[in-house]
Amino acid sequence: MYEPNIPLLKMNHISKTFDGIKALQDVSLTAWSGEVHALMGENGAGKSTLMKILSGALTPDKGGEILVDGQTIPTGNTRASRSYGIAVIYQELSLSPNLSVAQNIFLGVEKSRGGVINRKAMLASAKPVLDRLGVSFEPDALVRNLSLGECQLVEIARALSLDARIIVMDEPTTSLSGRETEKLFEVIARLKTQGIAVIYISHRMEEIYRLSDRCTVLRDGTYVGTLDKNEINAERLVTMMVGRDISSFYKKEHKASDSSRDIVLSVDDLSDGKLVKGCSFQVHRGEVLGISGLVGSGRTELLRLIYGADTAVRGNVHVEGENVSPKSPREALHKGIVYLTEDRKGLGLFLDMTISDNVNVMVSIRDAILGGIRHFSMASQRTDRAIKNLAIRTLSIKQKVGSLSGGNQQKVLLARLLEANPKVILLDEPTRGVDIGAKSEIYKLIDELASHGLAIVVVSSELPEIIGIADRCLVMSEGEIVGEVTATSEHPITQEALMTLSTGLNRSNTVHKASEVIQENLI
């Protein structure tokens, strides 16, 4: 079937540019038959883009080529990719819950006789595929009744039924239990013996150690290197993943030591029963607390719980010693907590409304005349002040927010929060989708707010950003706070320390560096 000296998959010189921004630059990847090849990198390193190019969902820039069995295949064509045996299993599964396992396996390629579905034939041909995976459920089981892990196996079965030889798994264990993960690993081992190449994307070091034969690391859209099984070790991987300088535009004026020791925000055993599992921490006056962790570690959910946007099943929130535990955003606002959403357009701004209305929406009822009539001159005053203080570039305060640039939109949203006169500011990815100029302005603003004595919590996926602006950083993993790193004047927080904690490395292989204070509170 294949010659042993020709790799099953070769991706050569793959680049991808979106609107002039290079998402991938000259990346290459080779996978052999019967190999598990791990693909690693920070959020935004370009892993998904590379896999989308492999699946044909995206077309690479000129010069990039994909070879299967040494043959160049057409790019940017999902059908072609599939016909060459490439299958991608995404984090969000695409099964129909009310159909049977067999029907899902043959979704779109149903076996029929004269247009009438032939259930028997589908059940019969699903059986050997499922046997290949060694699964315990029957082909006529309803997908609705399967566990998440079993659903993933159905997806793999679907790929096999289409004669897939290269299977990409994008963080497959994120939502699996320990037992299901074991089952998946067994299946992956079986696939290996059957000559299939598995490209495995994961942030979990343990999985990489256990499974992968080789590991390729991407950073900022570039190829960093590929390690063989015996070369893979945590420190090396982390260094490859983060190794870059903290750019100079993080300039902290306020000093952590300036912050008094009075606690402004205190969060105690907060849980939502699902994604946040008993988080406790405190933020002092004038302190910027960073929360780091991988996407899906429960950071956003934690902030939303503190703000009362979701309901907590357990735990308390205190502001300046008063138990506030908000049950709605409204209550949180009244108690001086504000929250900047990570999804500016979807959950933050009213795009069809004016800048002025967007800035004033939280305070218009406080300013109102006779309990309900808009105080328009007050509103314009506030808006003018916001435009001046935050340097929002606009033609008029009546301009619709939807027509502003990303950076200016973010500033409008920040202005809204500041007008509410908060004591605690929760910022979720404050510089996402913002150009570099606005970014440094937002950092300056956060710094200023801290020196005015506000308590600030910043969630960010960008490690340099967290390191640049936070006085102290918590690391979250799987809904828990797994570590804390404090910056001192001599020893700033390092990316290695944060990555080590957030990938769960410290569970098996604790990395301590003399320059850092790593407190572990593993449960």
Partner: protein
């Protein structure tokens, strides 16, 4: 910074575009009026315009309530039925000797009660507005027939008949009520905090909640005021007819009200629109009916033409808006 002339230019362009958008369907209304005048020669007379206003008034009142609802990205299919039920209550109370004028508040409050009922189901039980008000469309119609013993109730000495048939300085009372309703709606939407909240909730309900807006209050208010205006519409109808009938009154009025709101440029997805647009939309529908009657077009063809005009007008409007938003 951009150079000054460029900035001025783009400012002028912005202003022109916003004027154009604000005008909305007004040019269509004016063209229709001129066309009917040219074709019939008797459209633009004081007497005829007064008739048009009178015919438009009840739909204007219903459509004003509908504007609030549609701005919150909802829909109220029950206003025709609520109008019938309120009219029945108004006429029945008007028969009480000496206290007949109580029929006015009774009718209005009946409408408010039904509207709040819709609002409670939608804001607290989070049921979809389409389903709730579709159910109310049928159920309230049944209640109207029940309350009216499924016959027509007359009151030849209706104490508030002046509402339906009187004039003040030559302007029909019905038209004056409609204007007051429009001005009140304009005030609420434009000048109150609640009005801003309505636009915000319709534009993005989850963002509104996160901004601390009482979304439940906004929804309750929107369906409440829609019911209240439908109740007022019931009082107006009964005052005009000296009678109310649970089966026929207000049939498919909700569709005319929705058509007026859509013609007025209010977006069905919520958050965008104005009460002035709704007024123009309701007037277009009334002018079309009146003009076609003047031209002697048969009832059947009136339906067909009205329906097509609504579709074409809205299609043109969407096309125009798209062009504006893209630049």
């Amino acid at each position: 910074m951009t150079s000054t002339p460029l900035r001025d230019q783009s400012r002028v362009a912005t202003r022109m575009r916003s004027t154009f958008v604000a005008l909305g369907m007004l040019p269509v209304l004016i063209l229709l009026a001129i066309a009917f005048q040219l074709m019939t020669g008797k459209f633009l007379t004081g007497n005829n315009l007064s008739i048009v206003m009178q015919q438009a008034s009840i739909n204007i009142v219903l459509a004003a309530g509908m504007t609030f609802v549609i701005l919150t990205a909802g829909i109220d299919l029950s206003v025709g039925s609520i109008l019938a039920a309120s009219a029945i209550v108004a006429v029945k109370i008007s028969l009480w000797p000496g206290l007949g004028l109580l029929g006015i508040p009774a009718g209005i409050l009946t409408g408010l009660a039904f509207g709040l009922f819709n609002g409670v189901l939608i804001s607290f039980l989070r049921l979809p507005p389409f389903i709730v008000t579709l159910g109310a469309l049928t159920a309230v119609r049944g209640m109207a027939r029940l309350m009216g013993d499924d016959t027509t109730i007359f009151n030849p000495d209706l104490p508030f008949a002046f509402i339906g048939n009187g004039n003040i300085l030559g302007v029909p009372c019905l038209a004056i009520i409609a204007m007051v309703v429009v001005l009140l709606s304009w005030f609420i939407l434009r000048a109150t905090v609640l009005g801003t909240w309505i636009y915000a909730t319709g534009g993005n309900q989850e963002a509104a909640r996160l901004a601390g807006i009482k979304v439940w209050l906004v929804l309750l208010f929107a369906y409440g005021i829609s019911g209240l205006f439908a109740g007022l519409g019931g009082v107006m109808s009964s005052a005009r007819l000296y009678a109310a009938n649970g089966l026929q009154l207000g049939q498919s009025n909700e569709l005319d009200a929705i058509a007026a709101v859509i013609l007025g440029g209010t977006s069905l997805v919520g958050g965008v629109g104005s009460i002035w647009g709704t007024l123009v939309g309701a007037l277009i529908i009334a002018v079309l009916s009146n003009g076609l009657i003047l031209m002697g077009v048969s009832d059947i063809w009136q339906f067909i033409i009205k329906g097509l005009v609504i579709i074409v007008a809205v299609a043109l409007d969407r096309y125009r808006m798209k062009g504006g938003a893209r630049t």
